[in-house]
């Protein structure tokens, strides 16, 4: 193919924010002790929220199911610690809203022993049984979007999948969650790939890793299986290299058509953390109740990579990392490019939380906004080739329908345009609003 001539190890456009990964990229993952209380939102995944199964006062053991999946695009929620249900109530959610959550007082005297297997042994399972087990364990994408993993394992019959792409790009600044997982548990990643390849029935898997993680690339290459076609592809360090569409373009050379799924071009993308998680659930038989997070930034006293029980509150995590510095000013769930700032220390860390970044006052002070000078930097940064300058002026005028004509719905809110804008216009914020407005108009139209 002609496009193969122009194959490179990166995509067009994008930005280069300072990486700042050295706070934690060589620090071993530590297990965090159980906190006194955990909070389990029923909405920790894309799709329909889970339905609570427990009532206040009820006793739960570790890994018990406390929320049932509501339909196919949904997953169950399990408790990460034994204790007593204190409440089922609205609680601050990492995305800034309030969500129905199960609050559990952790039993301090419980040995917190693992339960008998709830996930079947992998050997001998048929692909559709694997999918069932993955949903039963509540596995979601651990890269941030938290899309239920089992849905991706069931491609429609008319869309044959030929390649599994493992996303180890981790292009967000500061975060080292996937990096440490690849360095410390490469065998687990390889085992997860084996399970996924079998479930999908694909012959080929490619692990994409940005070149700023040479130790991860080396460890993965050392542990590659002999009997499967798995390769490691080093990628140029550029944001948003880990965006699904960008990664697919680099690996396969083809663009996912607008509004379509990766399966349309014959691939499935899984975050490397989710892959390791799948290996773990089949290995231990336990559901997804703990995950690795990076707690980092100049505003935290002891930057760390932690293995935390899902539902641990921000307050406890910060305390375990020796607290905040005096000039700490902003706490972000996720990376600084796409993460959400939270004002509430009681917000729990959930399945989709990749990290907690604490910025200082000097970093978080809002920049002065100037008028658009049409410099065109946003056009040259947008990885999907939109015209953010035009979209921004339409957004300011509230002309949302015209924004749709200018392909607003193709925007993935990566924040590259806002990052480069010399006038510091909050473009991606305006686009998020515009997308919501359009969705609302659409749902009203379909209701009418």
């Amino acid at each position: 193919m002609l496009s193969d001539l122009f194959r490179s190890d990166t995509f067009r456009h994008g930005v280069h924010p300072p990486e700042r990964k050295s706070y934690t990229d060589s620090i071993k993952i530590r297990r965090m002790p159980f906190p006194d209380q955990i909070v389990l939102p029923m909405r920790q995944h894309a799709g329909r929220p889970a339905i609570p199964l427990v009532k206040p006062g009820e006793r739960v053991e570790r890994a018990d199911k406390v929320g049932e999946a509501d339909g196919f695009i949904s997953v169950p929620i399990h408790t990460s610690a034994a204790g007593t249900v204190r409440d089922v109530t609205l609680w601050p959610h990492p995305d800034g809203s309030m969500a129905e959550s199960v609050v559990i007082e952790v039993d301090r005297w419980s040995p917190q022993v693992p339960r008998p297997r709830i996930v079947a042994q992998w050997e001998g399972l048929e692909p559709d049984q694997v999918v069932k087990e993955v949903q039963k364990a509540g596995v979601v994408g651990l890269g941030g979007a938290a899309f239920p993993t089992h849905v991706k394992l069931l491609p429609p019959k008319d869309m044959p999948v030929h390649t599994l792409i493992v996303n180890g790009a981790e292009c967000e600044p500061y975060l080292t969650t996937d990096h440490r997982t690849m360095v410390e548990f490469p065998e687990r990643v390889q085992f997860g790939i084996r399970i996924m390849m079998k479930a999908l029935g694909v012959e080929k898997a490619i692990i994409g890793v940005e070149k700023n993680k040479p130790d991860a690339i080396e460890r993965l290459r050392d542990t590659l299986p002999d009997d499967l076609d798995v390769t490691v592809l080093p990628l140029t360090v550029k944001y948003p290299q880990g965006a699904e569409k960008m990664l697919i373009e680099v690996v396969t050379g083809s663009e996912v058509p607008s509004g379509k799924l990766p399966m349309n071009v014959g691939v499935v993308v899984q975050n490397v953390g989710s892959i390791a998680c799948i290996a773990e659930i089949f290995d231990t038989g336990q559901p997804l109740i703990e995950r690795v997070v990076t707690v980092t930034g100049p505003g935290i006293r002891r930057p760390s990579n932690l293995l935390i029980p899902v539902g641990t509150k921000l307050r406890d995590v910060l305390e375990f990392c020796d607290g905040l510095t005096d000039d700490a000013s902003q706490i972000i769930f996720g990376g600084p490019m796409m993460g959400a700032a939270t004002p509430d220390l009681d917000t729990p860390l959930i399945k989709g939380t990749t990290g907690v970044v604490v910025l200082t006052e000097a970093q978080a002070r809002p920049p002065t906004v100037y008028p658009c000078i049409h410099c065109g930097r946003c056009l040259e940064s947008c990885p999907v080739f939109l015209n953010p300058s035009l979209l921004g002026s339409l957004a300011q005028a509230g002309r949302y329908e015209e924004m749709e004509d200018s392909h607003l719905m193709d925007c993935m809110l990566c924040g590259s345009c806002s990052y480069v804008c010399p006038s510091h216009i909050p473009l991606s914020q305006m686009f998020a609003l515009g997308k919501n407005m359009l969705r609302r108009v659409k749902s009203k139209e379909s209701a009418a």
């Binding site: 924040g415 010399p422 510091h424």
Partner: protein, 348 residues
């Protein structure tokens, strides 16, 4: 409740002081004022060159046009808008495209007109259609056609004024005693004489204050392009178009048409291509649009210079293409990721 607590810095007394904002939470170090002030800094050597060739008159004219621009921005613009540095760029650039002997009051009026009618009535920074400095000069050319085409000859003393800089407001300058000299383009057009290319490169010629040393402007332009404070496509496409178009004419009839090197370095082409056409506000935002815009300017410059009634056409070429920018932008929207190209859609 236990927690990071008071010592952690998240709480001051009872009040929690965490900031919230929409993502992204990090920003590139470039800012609009930083771009503007960097451009201003690169104008300093150009002003210095103007003073070197034209003496104290250069400072008087540039100072007056800058004062006109800044005062107008300060009085009629948004509060604090002067601090972004863009009005100073307009004022200095306008001064650089005026003759050395130009009366200060006229330069002041030109700066005021450029900012007032070229920028503020459109809504201020970022909103204007035309380059304010060029609009100011177009106004001056219409209002004071004699004064703006009076090109003083070199004086024996560097200190001597190059004309009636201190003409009283509303008075025409006294040009009776002034020894004038033609600009290279005027000499070529009306007298049929050429100019040494070396003189054009270093600026040892008559002409406007800042349009003399082509080499210096080119070096500053490369600096700004490397810093990405101007779109390299615009000067590149303008200069290439002028070189190719005038080169073709020169090949056809070398006695009638000037050489491409003369066309590139004479008059205001360098200053226009590097500093005027690249004004971000009034040039296309799309990369493809930048090429079209630059080619259009290059073609118009040669057309006006060779076949027009005026010896110089850079100002009108840029202003005309400024007017085309909205159309160019619309016609050159980038193909969005995952969408077919329009042409393929049509054939599919």
């Amino acid at each position: 409740m236990s927690g990071p607590g008071r010592s952690s810095g998240t709480t001051r007394g009872e009040e929690t002081l965490l900031r919230i904002a929409a993502s992204p939470h990090v920003h590139s170090p470039h800012s609009t004022p930083r771009i503007m002030w960097t451009v201003n800094a690169t104008l300093v050597p150009l002003v210095a060159a103007a003073v070197y060739w034209f003496g104290p008159s250069a400072l008087l004219v540039i100072g007056a046009s800058t004062a006109g621009a800044v005062v107008t921005e300060r009085v009629f613009g948004q509060p604090g808008a002067v601090k972004d540095g863009s009005a100073i760029i307009t004022g200095v650039l306008l001064g650089l495209i005026l003759p050395a002997g130009f009366p200060m009051w006229m330069a002041f009026v030109g700066g005021a007109f450029g900012i007032g009618f070229g920028k503020l009535i459109f809504g201020g920074l970022g909103q204007n259609v035309f380059n304010p400095a060029l609009l100011g000069r177009a106004f001056l050319q219409a209002a004071f056609p004699i004064a703006i085409t009076t090109w003083p000859a070199r004086q024996a003393s560097w200190w001597a004024l190059r004309g009636d800089n201190f003409a009283l407001p509303l008075m025409s300058p006294n040009t009776v005693d002034l020894v004038t000299a033609a600009t290279p383009l005027g000499a070529w057009k009306f007298e049929g004489t050429g100019t040494e290319v070396l003189d054009l490169l270093i600026g040892r010629t008559g002409g406007s204050l800042g349009e003399t040393s082509g080499l210096l402007i080119l070096v500053l332009g490369i600096f700004l392009a490397v810093k990405k404070y101007l779109d390299w496509r615009i000067p590149t496409s303008i200069l290439l178009t002028v070189a190719v178009f005038s080169g073709l004419l020169f090949l056809i009839d070398g006695s009638r048409f000037p050489s491409p090197l003369f066309m590139l370095f004479a008059g205001g082409l360098m200053l226009g291509a590097v500093y005027m056409a690249t004004d971000m506000v009034t040039s296309p935002v799309t990369p493809r649009g930048a090429w079209i815009y630059g080619i259009g300017i290059g073609l118009l410059v040669v057309l006006i210079r060779v076949w027009g009634g005026l010896p110089e056409g850079v100002m009108y070429a840029i202003l005309l293409m400024n007017a085309m920018v909205p159309f160019i932008n619309r016609a050159t929207q980038p193909r969005v990721f995952g969408h077919e190209r329009k042409r393929e859609e049509a054939t599919a």
